[in-house]
Subunit: 251 residues, 2 copies
């Protein structure tokens, strides 16, 4: 069933479709009176709605029932990616949203080929935020990840995080295969002890420089291998999120 | 370092670049005498090579050393995907290769919007096989996954597999979260008992029909949830492969 996020904290019994919802549900999907859709409010509640009236520029729906599904990872995961080129930030955002990231940030990295000019950042973030919203609706999440950009790695707010990782190919090459496993095994326990967030840093296409690794380690990020194959810049965060879902949500 | 697959079972001490390798290494990358690259032979051996002579249409390299890196999943995983539209099969193949799949097959599924006409299948498979080879080279695998197509689900050779799963959204919705966890936990043991392959079936964009699920269960495929969020057709196999890597290769 089609689902939309709305800005309100709860859905009224008798709901008049806001312009964005009207446009998509009535104009694009051509829903009819009697058809159902869902609305997710700002309290992560999901209301099932039935269309009762449609006219040229407005439509009304009645609320049938409200639920609060548990579909968010039990720990808020921030994915910080060195800026990659072309449409890669878009596909990173789309898939990391499906896979449960709470926050997705990009930074200008030593080996980044792409660089975002300050003037263009707001428009780029706005576009990525829209992609995140669409992916959150499609994957039936109840939260939309926030998207942000830092002109340099040092601007990432490391102190806000209890558990910090950096995906490091060189570590994997040297046979590092303990870190992610240990962190994953300990996460349940860490969550109970009050850790409610995790930061994972990923390089751009060219990888992460030795100086950046040094800096990240000083900030408390543990270098972690993600298996013996070399993953592309966009694939590595999806691997991590899939593993966290498996460890924290299945079993 | 750039890596290429070659058809030979081993790399000679004095190697004349075959046309495909010559074209990419010399024409595209513009490697010079003294530059290094790697060749993977049909026995999963990787030879480090140094260019010693380049002329207009030929080049020679000498073999420096040969290794046999362990970069393949300890179980051969086949990903069987309902045919999805546009470029989705290409991105499924590229990422599933990076993530370690041994074999990637597509089938015409009840809810597939795309259908491949018999006459076009060989060309499409050839293209996907090329994508698999490029991704295997880039991710430094020592095997290229094989790509195949079945006109219908029933043609998939289920009897060849010991462990069989089908990713099922409806199962996930009903809170199914044991199957993948249990299979993953047991895989090590199953491998020791001689199970050396696993088949995982995924629907196309529209999902998998109830009749297909019935048929798959008769073939021994266990319906498995992949967490509480709805994953797109292409994301679900990447989730599974990431989890298998974590369980079988890390720790």
């Amino acid at each position: 069933m089609q689902r939309y996020f709305i800005q309100q904290t709860s859905v009224p019994q008798d709901y008049q479709l806001e312009p964005e919802v009207f446009k998509h549900a009535i104009r694009v999907l051509r829903l009819k009176v009697g058809d159902h859709f869902e609305l997710t409010d700002q309290q992560q509640q999901v209301a099932e709605m039935e269309l009762v009236e449609i006219n040229a520029s407005q439509a009304r729906a009645k609320r049938l029932k409200t639920t609060r599904p548990q579909v968010e990872l039990p720990i808020a995961v921030t994915i910080a990616c060195g800026l990659s080129k072309n449409a890669k930030p878009e596909i990173i955002v789309q898939k990391a949203t499906e896979l449960g990231a709470a926050r997705i940030v990009f930074f200008n990295s030593a080996y980044s080929i792409a660089q975002w000019q300050a003037g263009k950042v707001p428009k780029k973030l706005q576009r990525l935020q829209k992609i995140a919203q669409a992916a959150a609706e499609q994957s039936h999440r109840t939260q939309i990840p926030t998207i942000d950009f830092y002109p340099q790695l040092a601007a990432v707010p490391f102190a806000d995080y209890n558990v910090k990782l950096v995906a490091y190919e060189e570590a994997a090459k040297q046979g590092e295969k303990q870190t992610l496993y240990q962190v994953a095994q300990k996460l349940q326990q860490l969550i109970e002890l009050g850790s409610n967030n995790l930061l994972a840093v990923f390089g751009p296409e060219g990888g992460i420089s030795a100086a950046e690794i040094d800096f990240l380690q000083q900030q408390g990020c543990q270098p972690a291998g993600l298996g013996p194959r070399i993953l592309r810049a966009e694939t590595a965060p999806w691997y991590l999120l899939s593993v966290l879902s498996f460890v924290l949500e299945l079993g």
